[in-house]
């Protein structure tokens, strides 16, 4: 049973997780690293992924899920090909961020927490991206986009 579930993880995923564990005093300390590794391959953490990771780390699914559900960047629901993290903190707010985000929502046809019909984008709010001198800012996947306006936001998604 255990080997079946661990086999649900790819060799590459297992190797990457084991590599993290070598730096740590015990296996379960790699919980967050492991979740991120698997999520980077699959986009999100399904119940099956969670169970497989838990088994690999000698944790229960409950122990791991309590950790996974604490962190906003661990997705326990499917997300689009790219996740849009749109800053909604105070500096972006002062620079018209809310209106720009509304424009983006209209452009993509989704609200916060939703995914576009073609599965390309999921839109989520995020706390200050540390780019306040170029507010408003957002991340699309790993790319940072800033100095956003209601006029230039659309073009990014063409």
């Amino acid at each position: 049973m255990k080997s079946e579930l661990i086999n649900a993880l790819s060799r590459a995923e297992i190797d990457a997780i084991e590599a993290e564990i070598t730096h740590l005093p015990d296996r379960k300390s790699a919980a967050i690293d492991a979740l991120k590794i698997v999520q980077s391959q699959r986009g999100w953490i399904s119940d099956d992924s969670l169970s497989a990771i838990a088994k690999l780390l000698n944790m229960s699914a409950a122990e791991l899920d309590g950790i996974a559900t604490f962190y906003n960047l661990i997705f326990r629901h499917p997300v689009g090909e790219q996740v849009i993290l749109f800053c909604d903190s105070v500096s972006c707010w002062l620079m018209n961020g809310e209106k720009v985000c509304s424009k983006l929502q209209r452009t993509l046809g989704i609200q916060h927490g939703e995914t576009t019909a073609d599965g390309q984008y999921t839109l989520l709010p995020v706390t200050c991206l540390g780019d306040c001198d170029h507010a408003p800012a957002m991340m699309v996947g790993e790319s940072l986009h800033h100095d956003l306006t209601v006029d230039n936001i659309e073009a990014i998604f063409k």
Binding site: D26, A61, A62, E63, D65
Partner: protein, 897 residues
């Protein structure tokens, strides 16, 4: 001892306590949620806030959490000052923002810690106008209800379940004001101690589902102080009843025995009192083999005449029956004709246990075992045989963390800090059992050995302690033995745990030898023995002369059996043994195989319906009091047995008879006050002063108030007309104090929080030194079959608790892969064997971690035939249907609400 000043009061407090403990111990009411006397402080709820002043000149002070504040000499605090008072009100106010208006329909209402702390704080006006967070609930099994909307996020549940009980399937999910406490998905909570959640949770999130099915408010319940009948540990319980039905069991705090927690067998198993299979009337078997229900008087008359006309009469008592009932049987049939209902092997082992309890070898109480810093368990699957002990042994492994914490001045009540510094560093726990054990996961050493090899290892450890080379053991065994001996010798308080579950005298002897040898070397090693039933020790002390076999060998014409299903011990010899008995008179609570072949059955009262004295595994004689008057003809066994020889006497007289004839049991008289005990002329109330409906209950039958049932047997009354608050602990029927409606009130009765009762801890240790003990030879049994104990399934009575019965495993045989291969079977196949021309088929469990030559079976009713067998011929079962789960637990019905 530091002195602190609180408002205008000087208090001398205990060094090492936190301020909350000190204040509560001094009788000062401070509200709290997340602190727990058995789990320490975390500072989450912020409810216990007080003000601390920096010096004499500081008039403003600052808010501190009393649970997280150490007591230091000359420190100054205020509880009553406005800023602290307002802060505590605000905490309640903020907890109430999302709290549902459930009180009228919430199970917790009336014994709700949140209600109590809300009233204590004085917050009463609601200003919040927003919406409330709501959650979806989960099915958590037949025992625990789930209502997350009531949660105040105190984190007590996960701290108890994970940290204290070692459970893995309950956790906190999410964050901010949307934390969810539950499982990853609905399903049975895996921990055998999950039931304590219903008392640990300060609101109605986790509730007793068996109680909810037939619910009554606490203030309407009738309760009594009882002793759990589930095993030999003698945990103290409060049993409660309403309308003639047992409703629920709660923990009754005992400083030495069970502390604040029970196991699930004890908490939920007492429902057997309500089982459909209860024998409620006397019955006489007719010529068709069916029972004619008979009026008790008539049945007694018939039984009397059978007995007086009997050519030979014998009596078999029971280790699960009270001392009084066993004594009454003993007097009825005569000492030489009485057996205490155990096997010869068991009796010999119990005698050894009695010997060690009387010797100078330290025999710590269950709560004291939590202080032991190295534990060796020889043979016992504690979690399934003496379950509550497993919880204590888990705490014992934390002693390492405590030592580390004290080394850097972290106080022991600072729970998170102690756990952080301890990491996974545990005090040594050595588990030596034939098959997998729930304690394996916290053990430092796990050894899977056949019972004979366990005994031999124990012997080898003994030699290693003396630095002797036995010469006969293999290098492997020697080196392991040396390692274990080293661990025990290095410890300050090592503990050896052994018992009777494997029916192996050699293991028990080896364990005793280890304890004796360590003590001879001036190492204060403790010994803790586990026996099987609630009164195993008591009846062994009463009369250990004749075993069941001795009695059956004499082939009596008439046999009186007291509360004992003989098939459990006779196994495959049951039918043959009873075949020759002409008159089998049985007194019992529930239908069972022995009852089924009886000629006359008498309806015996259960522990909830009769007073009784039970001696637990550490020689503590404790009195259990009836919760309610038994209905109809149900009568205490001792009374029925006395009636069989036309004697009528008070139960207190029986105590004196026992005390006078058995010197070691002299102490049982003082185990609880006699029936004549009064407090300023008043008896002790079983019901609360708010109990309602007494006069209205039967108003549809008659408007005249019925006389409440009388209790002439004990100092308790079946009403609210009596004392409560001043009742001594051994008579207290429920825990309540003004403003403290829940069991959190128990601190009001303790000398200090978490300490002994003010009026003395219930029960008397009747075996206290004066005796001698020597090491002995370690013998082997050469048996292949190994019984596996199951917390749900191995105890006779609790098996009949409706909800618990759903958790009993299907029968299986656990075998090593090589055995399976030789039989041509794989996991989940079936194997068959024949006994007495009857074919049995059990599921196969393949387990390569177990000893290759052993064969294990669950000790449950379906496998009773194997009790005395060893040589069974197995073959692959034809047309076998795989059971849904692989043999451990099965829930037969999903009772999600």
């Amino acid at each position: 001892m530091p002195t602190i000043k609180v408002d205008n009061q000087k208090l001398v407090v205990k060094d090492g306590d936190n301020l909350l403990q000190a204040l509560l111990s001094a009788g000062i009411d401070i509200p709290y949620f997340c602190w727990h006397p058995a789990m320490g402080s975390i500072g989450a709820c912020r409810q216990c806030a007080v003000v601390q002043y920096a010096g004499e000149d500081d008039t403003r002070g600052r808010i501190v959490m009393s649970c997280m504040t150490a007591v230091t000499d000359q420190a100054r605090f205020s509880v009553a000052t406005q800023s602290a008072d307002q802060f505590r009100k605000s905490v309640i106010e903020n907890l109430m923002l999302n709290h549902p208006h459930d009180c009228p329909v919430c199970e917790e209402g009336g014994e709700c810690h949140l209600q109590d702390m809300t009233v204590m704080s004085g917050h009463s006006v609601r200003h919040y106008e927003g919406k409330k967070t709501t959650y979806r609930n989960q099915y958590l099994g037949p025992f625990i209800g789930h209502e997350m909307n009531r949660c105040i996020t105190c984190y007590r549940c996960v701290r108890y379940y994970q940290d204290h009980a070692g459970g893995h399937d309950l956790n906190a999910f999410g964050s901010r004001d949307r934390v969810f406490f539950g499982r990853v998905e609905s399903g049975l909570l895996e921990s055998e101690f999950a039931g304590n959640l219903v008392e640990v949770c300060p609101t109605g999130v986790f509730t007793d589902k068996t109680f909810s099915k037939h619910y009554t408010r606490k203030w309407d319940l009738q309760s009594s102080p009882t002793i759990c009948q589930g095993c030999s540990l003698g945990c103290n319980t409060y049993t409660s009843e309403r309308y003639g039905q047992l409703r629920r069991v709660q923990n009754r705090y005992h400083h030495q025995v069970n502390g604040y927690f029970l196991c699930d067998r004890g908490r939920f198993g007492a429902q057997f009192v309500n089982a459909e299979s209860r024998i409620r009337q006397a019955g006489i078997r007719n010529s068709q083999g069916l029972y004619d229900a008979t009026e008790l008087k008539t049945a007694i008359g018939i039984a009397r005449s059978i007995i007086s006309n009997a050519s030979t009469i014998k009596g078999i008592g029971s280790p699960r029956a009270s001392l009084e009932s066993n004594q009454a049987l003993r007097e009825l049939v005569g000492q030489n004709n009485y057996s205490n209902g155990m096997t010869e092997v068991e009796q010999a082992m119990l005698q050894k246990i009695i010997d060690v309890l009387r010797s100078p070898i330290p025999t710590p109480s269950m709560m004291q075992t939590e202080q032991c810093d190295a534990v060796l368990v020889l043979g016992e699957d504690v979690t399934n045989f003496a379950p509550r002990l497993a919880l204590s042994l888990r705490q014992a492994t934390q002693n390492r963390a405590k030592t580390l914490a004290l080394g850097v001045h972290i106080p022991l009540w600072h729970d998170a800090a102690v756990r952080e510094i301890g990491q996974t560093d545990r005090s040594p726990l050595v588990i030596v059992t034939p098959t997998e054990d729930r304690l394996d996961e916290v053990a430092s050493h796990v050894l899977r050995l056949a019972p004979d090899n366990i005994a031999l290892l124990g012997d080898e450890i003994c030699h290693a302690i003396k630095d002797e080379d036995n010469g006969t053991a293999s290098d492997n065994v020697s080196s392991v033995a040396r390692e274990i001996a080293g661990l025990l010798k290095q410890a300050t308080k090592p503990l050896i745990v052994a018992g009777t579950s494997l029916q192996h005298p050699g293991i028990l002897q080896a364990a005793l030898n280890i304890a004796i040898t360590l003590n001879q070397q001036n190492i204060s090693a403790g010994f803790f023995a586990c026996a099987s039933e609630s009164n195993s020790l008591g009846v062994a002390m009463l009369d250990n002369q004749h075993s069941i076999s001795d009695i059956m060998a004499e082939q009596p014409e008439t046999l009186v059996v007291l509360e004992n299903d003989l098939q459990r011990r006779l196994g495959d010899r049951f039918d043959a043994s009873l075949a020759g008995i002409k008159h089998l008179i049985v007194l019992d609570h529930l239908d069972n195989p022995t009852v089924s072949v009886s000629t006359l059955v008498l309806p015996a009262a259960t522990f909830a319906e009769a007073e009784g004295t039970y001696v637990n595994n550490e020689g503590r004689a404790q009195r259990s009091f009836a919760t309610f008057n038994p209905a109809g003809d149900i009568t205490p066994s001792y009374e029925l047995l006395d009636q069989l020889r036309s004697v009528k006497r008070h139960i207190d007289e029986i105590h004196h008879v026992i005390a006078n004839s058995i010197p070691t049991l002299a102490g049982i008289v003082a185990a609880a006050p006699a029936a004549s005990f009064r407090i300023e002329g008043a008896k002790i109330a079983r019901m609360t002063h708010r109990a309602s409906g007494r006069t209205a209950i039967d108003a549809n039958i008659s408007v005249h108030e019925p006389t409440p049932p009388m209790d002439d047997d004990s100092p308790l009354v079946y009403s609210m007309e009596g004392q409560h608050e001043q009742a001594p602990a051994n008579l207290r029927a429920y825990s309540w104090a003004p403003g403290w409606n829940s069991n959190q009130s128990n601190h009001k009765f303790q000398q200090e929080v978490g300490g002994s009762e003010r009026t003395g801890d219930p029960g008397i240790l009747v075996l206290t030194g004066g005796g001698e003990i020597k090491t002995g030879d370690v013998t082997l049994t050469h048996r292949r079959l190994v019984p596996e104990l199951h917390i749900f399934g191995s105890d006779e009575l609790t098996n009949s608790a409706a909800d618990l019965a759903t958790l009993v495993t299907a029968p299986y045989l656990r075998m090593h892969g090589t055995t399976a291969q030789s039989l041509g079977v794989v996991q989940d196949d079936g194997v068959s064997f024949e006994v007495n021309k009857q074919r049995f088929s059990f599921a196969v469990i393949v387990d390569d971690s177990m000893p290759a030559d052993s064969l294990a079976y669950p000790l449950i009713p379906a496998t009773v035939v194997l009790t005395n067998l060893d040589d069974i011929q197995l073959s692959k079962a034809e047309s076998w249907t795989k059971a849904p789960a692989s043999g451990q637990r099965m829930i037969t019905t999903d009772r999600s609400q």
